[in-house]
Amino acid sequence: MDLNKTVGKPISRLEGKLKVTGAAKYAAEYQADNLLHGYVVNSPVTKGKIINIDISGAMAIPGVIQVLSHENRPKLAWFDLQYTDMDAPPGTVFKPLHDENILYNGQPIALVVAEDFETARYASTQIRFEFEEKNFQTSLDQNIGEARAAKKGFATALKPPPPPPTGDFDEAFANAAVKVEAEFHHGTEHHNPIELFATTTVYEGPGKLTIYDKTQGTINNQLYVANIFGLRYKNVRVLAPFVGGAFGSGLRPQYQLFLCVMAALHLERNVRVVLDRKQMFSFSHRPPAIQTLRFASDINGRLTALGHRVLAETSNFEDYTEPTASWSHRLYPAPNTLFEQKVVPLDVYTPMDMRAPGGSTALHAIECTMDELSYKLKIDPLELRLINYSDMDPSSKKPYTSKALRACYLEAAERFGWDKRSPEPASMTRGNKLVGYGMATGIWDAFQFPARVEAMITSDGKLVLNNATTDIGTGTLTVMTQIAADELGLSIEEVDFQYGDSKKPFSMFQGGSAITSSTGVAIVIAAKALRKKLLKKAGEIPHSPFHKIAEEEVFFAAGQLCLKSDPGIFITLKDIIAFNNGRPIKTTNMGKPHMLKLRKYSLATHSASFVEVEVDKDLGVVTVTRAVTAVAAGKIINPKTAKSQILGSMVWGISKALHEETIMDTNLGKYINTNLGEYHIPVHADIGELDVIFAEEQDELINEIGTKGVGEIGLVGMPAAISNAIFHATGKRIYKLPIHFDELIG
C-alpha cells in the first residue's frame, strides 16, 4: 500500500502546464463585457488637506466616464469596524477617499474611470488639486523620542508583546565576564510581487458582485467588501485562483479593491483597476527598525544575559507590531533577560507582515551579536550555538513538540565544509577576493488556523475537495492533492482540489507558513468522515461483505474499499456511488489546532544557514558564492515544492542582506526609489550555489499530519549568516542592512 503513497514524493506542480503556457489567469486578466478601466491618483503631498479638486480637464477627455474622489464618492459605511479586516492592527483603519485629509505620501485621492486604460491614465494627469500642506515626520532616526508601547487589540493575540524581564539584567550585564552591545539599523522594504495589485469587478446586477482580486485571503476580502458596501455576504464572491506572488502584501485588502468595487457599484458597470509599479510602494511595507542588543556570557560561552530593545516604525493611524524582541530567548537559555519593543508613529502608511515579519529582522541582529560574542570568546561560532543549545523553549519553559535544530547545524556544517574555515577574520583569499564563512540560526513559529473542507466522492469515483484558501505560489494545490490522495487511497489524477474562491468552506488568509497545517489537517479530518460514510453506504448494499464491518477492518487503496483480512474482497468507490443512485457522498468538516494539548508545548520550526562570500579586495563587491540551509519543519509533504520555498527564502535572505531597501527622503516625506530599476532585488547573476537540507523531524504532537510550515523559515537565518561571512572575510562588522560595497572599502 505504501508504494502508492504520494506524500513525501517530489511531484511537479499540478498547475505547472497552465503557468508555462500562459493559460493561468491572474486578477487583471479576466474579460468582462464593456469593461471600464480605473486609474488611481495618489497624493503628492505627505500630510495635509485637499482644499480643492478640479476634474473638468479630465472629464472633458473623450472616453472618461467618471472621476471619483472624497467630494463625490457614494455614501458608505462610516463606522471604523466595518472597514476592518482579519489582519488589521489596533488603531483606526485607513478608509480610501473618506475625507479631505492626507495621512501619507502616495495616499489614493481619486479614481479616474474611462473606457480604456490609456485614457484613464492620461486623464489622471489632468486633474487639478489644491492642497494645504502640514508638517510631517517620516524619519525613524529623528523620532525615537516619540517611541511608545503599541496599543493592544484583536491582532495582539497572534502577535504578543515581549515577556516580562527575568532575573536582574542590568546587574548581570554590568558584571559579565564577556559581553557585546550593538545597535542594528534596518531599512524599509516593500513586498514587490511581480504581479501588480489588481481587481476586476464583474457587476452581476444590483448588490451582486464577482470579484477577481489579488489577495492571500478570499474570505477576508469578501467580508471587507460586504461590510463596507452593505452587501449580503452571499452576493459578494471573491476569486483568486492564481496569485502572482504576495509575500504578505495580500494579507489585507488593498485600496485598488475598494476603489474598483466602489466604481463598479456606482456606475453599475464592470470595472478593472490595476496599480502601477510606483503605486506598489504606496501601501504596506516591512517597517524600518532600530535594535539594541546586549548579550553577555561567562568565559566558557554560556549566556548569562540577553537584552533586546526594538524601536520600529508604525503609521499615525494603526499600531502595527511584529514580534521581534524576544526571539533570542526561544533559542538560548539565560537567567537574566530584558526585552522591550516600542513603536514610533510616523506619517507613513501602516507597515504590514512581509515574509518572516519580525523574525527575519530580529534574528539578523541576534545571530550577528552571537557571532561577535564568539570572536570575543575565541570559540567557533557553531560551537557557541551548541554550548547554548536547548531542547526546551527557555522563554516559556515548555518543551518543543519537536526540535531537530542540532541535526540542522551538524548536517549543514558538514555539507558546507565548515571545518575548512580558518578562524581569523580576513585570513582566507581566492585570487583578488577575500573569502569568508558565516553561519546563523533561524527560528519561526509553527502556526495552524482553523479551516473547513468539503470532501466528496463523485459518480466517476473521484475525490473533489473544496476550501477557500489561495495558492500564492507555495505549492498548496499540489500538496493538498497529495495529502487527500493518500487519505482515500487514490492517485493524484483522481483528486480535484478546488480553491481560491470565497464561496468555498472557510480558510484564513494564506500567511504565517500555516496553510499546509491548516487546510491539510481539515482534509485529514474530512477524509476520515468520508471514509466512514463510504463504508456505511457500502455496508447497505444487499449481501455486502462490508455489512457491520468496523473501520479498523478495512482500508482504501487504488480507488477501492478493501477488507484487511482478505484484500481480494473489495468494492470500488465508483460502485458505492452508483449504489447511492449516482449522488456524490460528501462531508464538510473542520480542522483545528488542539489548543489544550498544545498549550503545554512550544511550537516552532528551526534552521541553520551556512554561507560563503567573496569580497573584492579593491571594490568591496560582495558575492554570495554558495550557501547551505538545513531546515527542521516536521514532515515534508512534497520535497520539490518545499525545497523551492526554502530556495526562494534564501534568495530573499541574500536580497535583505545585500540588495533591497526602500529609501525615504525625509525632507519630502516620500520614497524615492519606487521602481524595480532602483529598488534592487537579486537577478540571476547574483545567485550562486544554493543547497537545501530537510532534517528528519517526526512530530506526532503538532497536528494530524506532522507539518510545521516552510514558507518563511528559510529566510530567517540567511541575512545574519551573510553578515557574519562578510565579517569573517573582511574583519568589518556592519550593523545595518543592506550592506553596501562602499562600507567595505578602505
Binding site: S12, R13, T21, G22, A32, F242, G245, K640, N675
Partner: protein
C-alpha cells in the same frame, strides 16, 4: 457575464490599422499610436499570457519574441511592429506538446507564483537562439533582465542549462 471574445476598441480618429502575425495567426487591428505592444496583446487581443510587472522595462515579465528576437513589449508601441511576426508564451508549445524549455521549467520547479514565467520562457528561447551564452555564468548574466521575486533563480537557470546542453531548443 464573462466573455472570451476579443474586444476590439472602437476606431477613433487617431488610430492606425496594423498587421501582426501573432503565434502564426494573421491579425489586422486598429489601434491608437500610444498603445504599447503589451497592452495591445493583453487588453485588445486577450492574450494575457504576456505579463505586466513594471511597464518600465525593468522586470522582463512582458518579454515576447518579435521576428525571433526577445523584446520588452511594454517598451514597444504596437504600431512600431506593423508587419512583425510575434511569438508570445501562448505560441511556444506545439499544440499539446510542450516546448522543451516549458517542460524543463516544470521538471526543475523553475517557478512558484508563475507570474514572471512567460517572460522567463520567451527570454530563454531568445537567449538560446542568440547563441551568445556558452556557460552557466553567461546564461545567468544574459537572463538577468528577467526578475523572479519568488526566488526560483536556481531552477530557472538549471532548466535553461538542461535544454541548452541537450541542444533541443532549435
Amino acid at each position: 457575464m464573462l466573455t472570451e471574445t476579443q474586444d476590439l476598441k472602437q476606431t477613433s480618429a487617431g488610430s492606425h490599422t496594423i498587421d501582426l502575425t501573432i503565434n502564426g495567426k494573421h491579425t489586422t487591428l486598429s489601434i491608437e499610436p500610444w498603445v504599447s505592444l503589451l497592452d495591445c496583446l493583453r487588453d485588445h487581443l486577450n492574450l494575457t499570457g504576456t505579463k505586466k510587472g513594471c511597464d518600465h522595462g525593468q522586470c522582463g515579465a512582458c518579454t515576447v519574441l518579435c521576428d525571433g528576437k526577445r523584446v520588452l513589449s511594454c517598451l514597444t508601441l504596437a504600431v512600431m511592429k506593423n508587419g512583425a511576426d510575434i511569438t508570445t508564451v501562448e505560441g511556444i508549445a506545439n499544440g499539446e506538446e510542450l516546448h522543451p524549455i516549458q517542460q524543463a521549467f516544470i521538471d526543475h520547479d523553475a517557478f512558484q507564483c508563475g507570474y514572471c514565467t512567460p517572460g522567463q520562457i520567451c527570454s530563454a528561447i531568445g537567449l538560446l537562439k542568440e547563441g551568445k551564452a556558452n556557460s552557466r555564468a553567461e546564461v545567468k548574466e544574459l537572463m538577468s533582465g528577467n526578475l523572479c521575486r519568488c526566488g526560483a533563480n536556481v531552477g530557472i537557470i538549471d532548466a535553461i542549462m538542461q535544454v541548452k546542453d541537450g541542444g533541443s531548443y532549435e
